[in-house]
Symmetry: T
């Protein structure tokens, strides 16, 4: 059985409520139930925080013992060298996901400090980006 | 009765103590008493944090139910896409204020990630910037 | 009694007519009547010109004798070092106002040569920006 | 039955032979056999060209009638506005894939003209990026 | 009788079909019939290719013997030094045309490698840009 | 009968006298006589000023009542957001013209603030640029 | 007898009054009297305007008939391509002067559009810069 | 007796475990014991946090009463204006240290927001950088 | 006997005809005869194409079996990551040549995507650059 | 009697021989004789070196005891922070001169590290720039 | 016994005399006596030159035989790739020191070509920076 | 008999000793013997200096009388406008050589101030670059 940690960054607790034209009407909790049903052979753990430092803590905590981490860094994607350094510091492979296609949006969302330290990136498939990330991890 | 949330960002807990040539000798608590007296018809709530994530949490908490938010993002003004995203995510109008005229200071203080997601900005009138923001909100 | 000079720059003579989605449907003259009524204790003088040099002349003329100047530089905000130098040259405090939130618009409107030489800036509250500027001046 | 066109750009005919440390030792033809076996319910069509214009032609030809296009633009990813315009011109959804994690490589590989006109991007999972793209398409 | 070669670059074969809000609903073939009718005294030759190299070949072939070339480089306008060099290499005067006003569009469409080697540019008049180019050529 | 206003910007009163290698030996007045003769069905009005503000005034004056405006902004093309804003503020379509091919000249002449607010641009055909602009207008 | 036109740009009418730490306490009129006394063999004509267009007009008016023009463009030095074009258009040699050493001041004062079209530049000697310019002209 | 506060930023809790080729195999706790032994006359206090805001809090708490602060900002060095503002706000002198030579690493590590507000910087001597900082402080 | 492939890029088929002041009056065919005569012990193969993709094809075809490739990428030198990738993909050493000294020409000719993947570069010796490249290859 | 040191930088020993179209046909020695004759009341000392360090030494040697230094830094003007620091370090006022109008030449000649540390600059009057500098010094 | 070479760059011979507000009132010679007294077990050799090339020579001369070199490159720190190359070329470890905190000064002093080739950097502790460098070396 | 001066810049005296992975194990003196043997009909003169100014002097001394100069500017290649000016000032043709392929190395080595003033450049063939330069010169 694979153990996969999903980490969602700032403002992603508002999914379903926040700018639904960009992010859709579904909450992440509802989606998570579906996702777990789709992958009964995987233990999915979920964590969300608006705190940069707490995300780093969670990466340290799970980054040496799980099979993979799937991270949607939210806005910290574009500003946090510290989260990127945390990913550099751990040994578990990390997959970066984004719900929206960040390359269609403001220029400051086109650069990610995380991409170069992650195994791969999945961008723009809505909530389905998380499922694809799990699909990817199952092949590692 | 209008409900207005004031949010002060990092280092603003040191007002009156920190670089008084730039920020003046008055603490924010003293000023707040005055401000409440000036607007008896307004319920003013005050929050200060040095934590980017806690500011996001407070925006989420009050951003769907108050009448307006007045934010002085401190240094996060210039670096936090995550706070800007939080403002994008909520429905309450937000007014940006600064005590000092940031445009007279270092270049890295000239750009604000918050300005483009706020209703308007009031910059450089010392503590009085907060009063003007309330004046503005009362006309919304 | 306080004497305040309002100076409006290029194209602001078309207010009410020009891009009403951005600037609203009210002419400045109509608004001025209201504004005067709101501040009976202030002598409000109004000047508009599409000429960079005439705005400089007016700043020279009123910049040593009134109590304050409120300027909306229009497009010259972003290109005129000469108007900024005129403000540097005079002794009366100047407040910069903008009707629209310039930070939500084209990048070339994000930089103002005037901000760093003004006392403070009020941006994005529609016509109400002028009232707030007077409120600010009354506290000087 | 879904019809999916895969388009590979310049130098990808050398897969298995070219810089194997970056791209692996498998040829695309071998991989394609596997891929077809994995998705018996999908009609997979494959095209590779080193010619920018031929890739445009293929997009025009298949971009109004298939169910989806999966494109690995190779180096044209970073230089071709013309291919991006072709994707803009067609009606079929397009998914961008890359074998290597382009964000770990030279700076000139960090910008893609294609990303902003594609539905989504899958980057860095080796050959498996193509399988994930099909997985994504099956959810459209 | 004047001999004028019209060269259309990538994706312009899709005119009438491609992003009609930007480029209109008329195919170039239909328009060409009209254009020939308007200028009975001119021999109009037409060539379209999605291949950068074929456009260069056509410039070489017709660039020493016709009276003028009218080129709409499509997306190659913004990326092809090679086409610009081909224009530099030939002796026939070249007029650059664009259907849409490229200056209202993405920043990467604001720079043209062709403009500085063409005689003149006509931009933004829809299909009518081609007629105006012929009008211009008739005065050479 | 169509009413078309031609507006020429700074230094264009010196045509025929100023840098004739770049601008030719003909004065604009001589040319205007020819132009009027060529279009007897059009009422052509002509205005030249070296004053940025006067050009704005003329745009305001004629920008709601004529059929079209043809503007050669001279050097203000490259520096005047205020003239661009005036064009944005009026309802009559505007065509930008340049006598010389500005793209062959100094880099600071390659960017025009006017292009993105005009209907279209005609650049580099000498005096004939004005005739082509009228030709274009007659098709509006 | 040499005829020399001095042209002063915006805000220079405030000399003696404006930022005296930078520009000194003497008015230009007082200085001019001195200057004329020092060069009895020269006819010195003086013109000041805050209007960019009027400075252009004066350059046109005197630029074909005097022996030299001495220009202090004030802030227009850094923004006016139109004044630079006017200098390009005339035949009389022009000398650029500045009272303060502009290179010790804000970065936006380090670039001059006028320098490259003037014969030479004299910068930073206070009012004495004008005398040195006359000295220079007498050697032409 | 001198009281010195050491503050370590994000990911430095992983020292000895994280990228040992860059940071070495020793944990900070082990090193601290050694350091305390070397300076028996100094009271060394140690704090580590992955939270930007907590680092600010600690600076506020100790920044008015200790003799000096030694800070290794980790990745926040390169992104945090807020920590730099906290250092500006306190009165105790601060010394910046880095274990690795940041100038040999990625470009985004070459700029420090902290350097300009610290007394001095010690970079690249491995763990020994902390000892050198204490040596420096003892001379203040 | 050494086998050397020469590849010439776009517009080089016009040598002798194209901008002779820059490139000289000799055709490449004439020169090639001379070159072959000078190196009887070398088998020289020649290929020219205006097509980026065909150049890539030729590199693939000859890049694993000849002794060396000499490439003059023409304008593709400055824009083609795809050709550079093709050179990266093959095993034969490649020498870059240019007839003119590209560093004396337009800025956009100063950067070459090919230089960093070639063994060495020979620039500016006219046709003789090819001979020098062969001289170089003979020492490999 | 005033003591003035003239310092000429690299390649100025070739005056009269070097690019005479730019610098004229006169050697500096011939000119110096003339200059001394014009200012019998001044002791003029002359030094030329192609060595950056020797120019610094000469500035140190004469920078505390003469009345003024006139420096033409030649190409070091544009690259030498060390010479600028030497000027900062001494107490004698320094005047910067250039023979040619550097602003008409290559972009890399437009910036001077020396200008901001000199009293003033005289640029573009040929050899006469030196005489004007002495004229300026006599007024200090 | 350790042998350490100290090398001081341009203008550092003026220490005690040059801008004492920045660099203090002590000459380096006086300081050196103190320093030698503090480290009786170290042989300290001292060299200063204003010549870039002589510093390179000294690095070559001592860079293969001493135990360490301590360099204060003065202004060459910011411009000299040649000194950086000399450090790259030798085998002795080098420590970079600065007396003032260069990061508090002009922008052009923020970048050092030397930092990335030195072992470590000590910046801003006044003369004490040299002592700290020796302390560091003793641990190598 | 041809007279050719070879000039080597800073750190090239360490060839054979300096970073042998980049520059090889052979000293230049050994190589020079070989080179002279290969070209008995050429008089080869050799000069090396670490002093920018001495290289300028040598260019002045030999730049009017030899047949050609071959220069490897070392690190001065990338910073010295003064050496470039010296080459501009002389009449003898100059060939630039580099041992390593500078385009494969740090970005600051990609720009050469010398290239645009030399006849041609030979880069990356190890020591053999010098032989190729002589080969080139023999064809002048």
């Amino acid at each position: 059985m694979k153990h996969i940690q999903i980490i969602n960054g700032p403002n992603l607790n508002l999914l379903g409520k926040r700018e639904p034209i960009v992010y859709g009407y579904q909450t992440f909790d509802t989606y998570l139930v579906q996702l777990k049903a789709q992958f009964p052979e995987v233990e999915l753990m979920y964590y969300q925080s608006n705190m940069e430092g707490e995300i780093i803590n969670k990466l340290h905590e799970t980054g040496f013992s799980t099979d993979a981490i799937i991270i949607n860094g939210g806005a910290y994607t574009h500003t946090s060298i510290a989260i990127a350094d945390a990913i550099r510091s751990i040994t578990v492979p990390v997959v970066e996901v984004h719900i929206s296609n960040v390359f269609k949006r403001e220029t400051f969302r086109h650069h990610s400090f995380l991409s170069e330290v992650c195994k791969g990136c999945i961008v723009g498939f809505g909530m389905d980006s998380y499922r694809l990330a799990i699909e990817a991890v199952l092949e590692f």
